[in-house]
Each structure stands twice: as C-alpha cells, then as structure tokens.
Symmetry: C2
Subunit: 420 residues, 2 copies
C-alpha cells in the first residue's frame, strides 16, 4: 500500500457570491480554486454563483467602476478597499450619425477606450487580481502582445504586486514601451506568440505564487467581461438591448456578455427580454465565423493573418460556446477584410469622434455587413462593443489618412486648399 | 456725413448662467459675443455669471460628464441634448503608493487620461463647441501640435461640424494620424508653431463662421477647465483639497481651477476652506516659474526647449494671472528638467499604474521638488492634475525603459533572468 499525502482541504476563500467551479461540458462541480480545466471532463471551468438577493439600489449606490457589480462577480465583498485599477463605467454613446451612415434606427457605442489602460482588458485583469489576492498569489503574470500586457503591468503596479509579462521579442517598440513603463518584470521571449503562450502554461504549473491571469485564474478573469453587459443594461435604464455586436478573439467576451444579460434577467434586475448576440471576426483569423457559416459545432484552428492582432487567436478556446450563444439567441457571425477593418475605424471616427483600435474596426465593419445582409434588424436597437483604443494600433491606418494639404502660412493658401 | 450701417444688436444667446464678458484688467463689461480681447483695456475677456441658486442635487442628478455642471458653465441649458464628446467624470485616484514614495500623507491623482481623446482638452473643446453652436458658427477650428487638434477634430466629427485644424508641417506622423483619422480639414502649414498660431488669428478675423476654439471663443473655451475643480471637489465628497498642483502652459487651466474652487465656495456648494495652488513647468519653458522665483509681476517670454511639448508656450497669455493666483493662495511655482520629467512619468506609472504624457511627468516631478523644498506641506491633503496620456508622448521615454531581458522560451531561462 502506497502512502498518500492527505489532500489539503480547499482554503476558505471569500469571493463574494462565487460558490463553486463548474465544468462547461458535463457540469462537474468542485470547490473554488485557482484551476481552469475540469479533471473530470477536461472542459473549461466556469464560476457558479449563489447570488442571494441583489437590488438595483445596491448597485447604484456603489462606486463608479466595476466594483458596483461586486455582488455579481467572483471577488471579495470588500474588494473596493484594496488598490486595483478600478476600470469600468465607460461611456455608452448614442451614435445617431453612425446609425444614419449604417441605415439603422437606434444605435449605441460602448466606448471602452476610457478604461485606465484604454481597453476592456482592465476589467478582466482587475477581477483576476482581486481573486488572485484572495487565493494568496503575490505575482500577476500573462503572455501577451498588447492590451493584456498593459493592463496586467498597470494593475500590478497599482497594487504593489510584482508582474511578470512575457512578450515575443519581435514586438514593436511602441508596444514594448507601453508595458515596460510600469516597471514590472517584462521579458522578451525569442519565439512567436504560440511559444510565449506555451511557456506561460509551463511557468504557471511551476510557480505556485504566480497568477497567470488568462491561465490558472482564467475562470475568475473571464467573469470580468460580464461587467460590459451590466453597464450596457444599467446605462440603458435597466433594460437589455435587442441586438449586440461583440468582437471574437478567444470568444470568452461574447459568452460572458450573454451570461451577464442572462444573470440580470434571472435576478429580476431587468426584464428578461429577448436579445440577439452577433459575433465579429477579421477574415484573416475567422475560424468561428467559418464554423458558423458552414453549420459546424467545432472550430477548425487557423493560422492568423490580419491587422486586427488583438483578435488574432487562431484556436479560440471558447469558439464552440460562441456558436452555441449566437445560435441560441438568433444572432449571426460574420468576418471582414483588413481593408474593411480600416474603413470601420475611419467610419466610427468620422461619425462619432471615437478612435478605436483594429478590433473596433472589425466590430463596426462587421455590423455594417450584417446590416446590409439583413441579419441585423435595422429597426431594432443595437449596441456595438468598442473594446480598445486607436492610439495602440496607429500602424493600421498606414498611408490612408493624412493632411488634406500642405500649405504656406497664408490665408489665401488655406482658402484655396479648402476649396479644392 | 458718412452713412454708417447700424451696429447689429447682440444676438440673444442662451448660454445658461453666463451673463456678460468682463475684461480681466479693468473690469469693463460687454454683452456675450465671440470676442476675446476687451476694446477698452485690451486685456483678455472672461465670462461673468448670474448663477442663481445651484444645489448639489442639481449636479448629482445630472449626466456622468461635464454637463452635470451646466449651471456653472457658459453653455445652453439644453446642452446635453446636442451631440458633443461628453468628457469629464474622470477618475480621482487615491494614490497611497505615490504618497509614500513622495513622503506625503494624503495624495490624490485626477486622471484625465480617461477623456474621449485622453486629455483635458476634451473639456474645454466641448464647452467651446456648445458656445460656438449658440453663436451660430458652423466650423470648429484650432492651431495645435497635439492634444487640442485631437479634441477639436473628434468633437467636430461627433457634432457633424466641419473642422479646420492647422498643424506645423514638421509634426511627427503619429500625431498627424491621431487627428487626420477624424476626417476633418487637417492642413499642414509650412512654418513653426508661431507661424501657425499667427495664421489662425488671421483666419479667425477673416472667416465669420469659424470658431477658433482658443482664439475667438477662448473666453468660453477656457471656462471648461473649471470642471476639473468641480469634479475634484465633488469626488472628495463636496469639499476642497488643501493643496493642488497644476501644470502651466498658457496658464489658463490653473486660473480656472482656482475660479472653480472659488465659485463652489461662493455658491455654498462646499465650505470655502483655504487651499493653495501650485504651478508646474518644464525648465526648458519656465517663464512663469522664473517670474515667480524672481518676484516679478510680468512674465518674460522664452523660446521653449523641452520634451513637454504640450506645455511649451513661451509667452503664456495668463502668466500674470497665474502669479496672482499662486501668491494669493499661498502656493508656489517650480520647474523641472526633462530628465526629471521622464522620472516623474515613470514614478507615477510604477506606483499607481497610470501612464501620463510629459505634462503629467512635469506635474509629478514638480510636486516632488516642492515637497522636498518644504513648499508643499506633507501633512496636508494634495491633488495632482494629470491632464494627458502617455500613449501620445512615447518618444519621451527614449531608451530608458524596455524589457528586463530577452530570453529563449524556457522555464529555466525565465527563472535566471528574474533572479538577476
């Protein structure tokens, strides 16, 4: 008989309403822990809740950031008392000029560029940090090529934690600077993003005190995207929109927006009115869109080739769940070329004064295509999720925008340049 | 006898509580109009108000942007109903880690990078647009090298107005793109910023329908900076801070923050407790700091040479008024070298996860210097105004930040890089 070390009983954690982890495929339940794959069916683990009663007043009297929704998130009840980046409560902009350009009646843009590091990643990282603190980690880590690296390094700095951020050594200098400035441990790895990702998984297994936000604390991290749904509903006056367009990278965000809407309905915080979820991809990395078009349930991995790098995940973990969500709600998925992405960026800037990164260009251009094909109902209210900032993907504009003219410093020269 | 055309009576404008324009030097009063210099004493014109009663509830029940303060601004009473960029309500961050690094007890950072185009300029431009609309203009214009150009082009796009933005033709490509994307009339002018500025003044005189935000509608525009003071006070729970550090470019912002605090006290919205206003400049453009140090009342123009370009105004229009404000409130003015600016940027990023442009580096570094010299009381509560975003001045970081190491994709290599 072999001596077996006793399994330590799970540490009693205070993660607010979070009750258990549950496997997405077969619903196996297990205690809250920093784990991400079910040992029973090998499917992703997701947070299950015991919400109790949540009232609108509880939320409305909370802080002007995502912690107003703490009773709906896997975070300690005292979460707002510990330093974190406090993202959220970004603008929901009524977009009448874009609506007119697209030929729809009521359109809103959720502008998540207003977050601390200017992308929705601040939401998920803030939740990951709060949960990681509770689990006893002391280092916040991630593999990333952009927005996530910024968000992790900033959140760790604010909290006084160490960060370890792994990037491919070929990353452009501007993207290196915007993470390095926070002075964590930024490591350039000789290899492509797949190599970096694999290394992150190895390191997560090796280092017990490192919380890799999108690996070992991923179930908590991904719940942060629900706050996009919560805010949209609250900003609409506590109701759900009829249609929403969400970009797809791993697919997590789209499924969590859906989860957020459902939770609000189940808790009676909004009327559980029907809504349709639409997914947006760049054609150069459109495995979920292809599967949707072909009527498949599984997603065939691809090798990404698109300017929309923040969406360039060739083997999206939540792809099948995205297909489920979109089909269940009566939505659709579509993809757009890089040229259309740039036109989407320009259209949003020209009509609403919002400058988005390439991912937002994907969302706008896909919405346009879905409207033209009749998939999106032009008479139903629609929300577009704009999840990142144009300042981070300037290169995508290439030579397509620039001054109208170069003139000598004279009134007449200005006049004739404008008359041209 | 010469036939004289009758002077048109001033158009009855609805600019809310704004009653008249008043000259800053001798107090000459004149009706509200798109004018910026008094014909009587040639001093700048400023908005005078007839506030009536304003209650905290009026503000608290307003929108989550600067229009919640519409009863304190020169804007129509219906201002929130017309498309504009809706800036403001940015975070006031309790900065305990920065406080510790600086050796002070209670410190707050007002993080204005959360605005639509990521600088405080969105505030002043939004007010300028609202007033310009009321005066019957149809084009929003400015000379600029950076933040102002972004804000004007974005606000005009959102409103469906034409914009005319004049930039020096030598401007870096990244800064050109971030304005050009909004698709207004962006004109590159062969000349330096002084040439561009002069041209703007000529064009403002020539084109009756062009509102140059910082020229002919400057009295309205500059009032937008009061909203920084209003928000700080409201976010502190309706009270004034004891000390505030404000960067100085033209000096307008500093004087308007003071004006905002005074108005809140006069209206009984806060207790009129004493506060001290401190000014921050880069040594390479420090005419106001020099005048303060030398005990002068006038400001000697300089030729700017600093990386803090958004503060590089060599002949600051409001310099004398800044000196008045700082001396009246018991504050001080100090300046810092470009090296200190970069260290200021890095210190804020490292301690609070906030990445500011060079102007914010000036503010942090100047605060540090004022604390070390004893000018700022370390036991009194202090607010730092961070007015722009690090993504816009990446070049300033030069080679000072970067990855800790470049490693092969192996766990051991990561470990030894971190151990170094």
């Amino acid at each position: 008989m072999t001596a077996v070390a006793p399994t330590p009983s799970p540490r009693a954690v205070n993660l607010g309403p979070a009750a258990e982890l549950i496997s997405k495929e077969e619903g196996h339940r297990q205690p809250l822990a920093p784990e991400f794959v079910s040992p029973h069916d090998f499917s992703p683990l997701e947070v299950a809740y015991d919400f109790g009663r949540v009232r609108r007043e509880d939320i409305e009297s909370g802080p002007r950031n995502i912690w107003r929704y703490k009773k709906l998130l896997p975070v300690p009840t005292t979460v707002e008392q510990t330093p974190n980046t406090e993202p959220g409560c970004t603008r929901l902009v009524r977009a009448d000029r874009l609506a007119k350009a697209l030929g729809v009646r009521r359109l809103w843009v959720k502008d998540d560029t207003g977050n601390p590091t200017h992308s929705f990643k601040d939401r998920v990282v803030a939740v990951a940090l709060a949960a990681a603190r509770e689990f006893g980690f002391d280092t916040l880590a991630c593999p990333s090529t952009g927005n996530l690296a910024n968000a992790v390094a900033a959140a760790a700095a604010r909290a006084g934690w160490r960060s370890v951020v792994l990037i491919p050594s070929s990353l452009e200098r501007a993207k290196v600077l915007t993470t390095a400035v926070y002075d964590g441990a930024l490591l350039a790895v000789d290899g492509n993003y797949d190599d970096v990702n694999r290394l992150a998984t190895q390191l997560a297994a090796e280092h017990e005190s490192w919380a890799f936000v999108n690996v070992n604390v991923r179930p908590y991290y991904s719940e942060g995207s629900k706050t996009l749904a919560f805010e949209v509903a609250e900003q609409l006056g506590w109701r759900l929109p009829e249609q929403i367009v969400v970009p797809i990278a791993s697919g997590s965000q789209l499924t969590k927006v859906d989860k957020g809407f459902r939770e609000l309905g189940e808790l009676g915080l909004v009327e559980a009115s029907p809504y349709r979820v639409f997914g947006a991809q760049a054609t150069g990395c459109s495995p979920v869109s292809s599967a949707y078009r072909d009527g498949h349930d599984v997603v065939q991995p691809v090798r990404p080739d698109t300017i929309a790098r923040s969406l360039a995940i060739g083997n999206p973990a939540d792809g099948p769940y995205v297909l489920d969500t979109v089909r269940r709600t009566g939505g659709a998925i579509q993809d757009v070329t890089d040229d259309e992405v740039v036109e989407g960026i320009r259209l949003l800037a020209r009509t609403e004064g919002i400058f988005t990164e390439t991912a937002g260009g994907v969302t706008v251009a896909t919405a346009k295509k879905l409207i033209e094909s009749g998939s999106i109902d032009p008479d139903a209210e629609t929300v577009l999720l704009i999840t990142g900032d144009g300042l981070k993907t300037l290169d995508a504009l290439g030579d397509r925008v620039g001054p109208k003219a170069t003139v000598p410093p004279s009134v007449d020269a200005v006049q004739s340049a404008l008359d041209d």
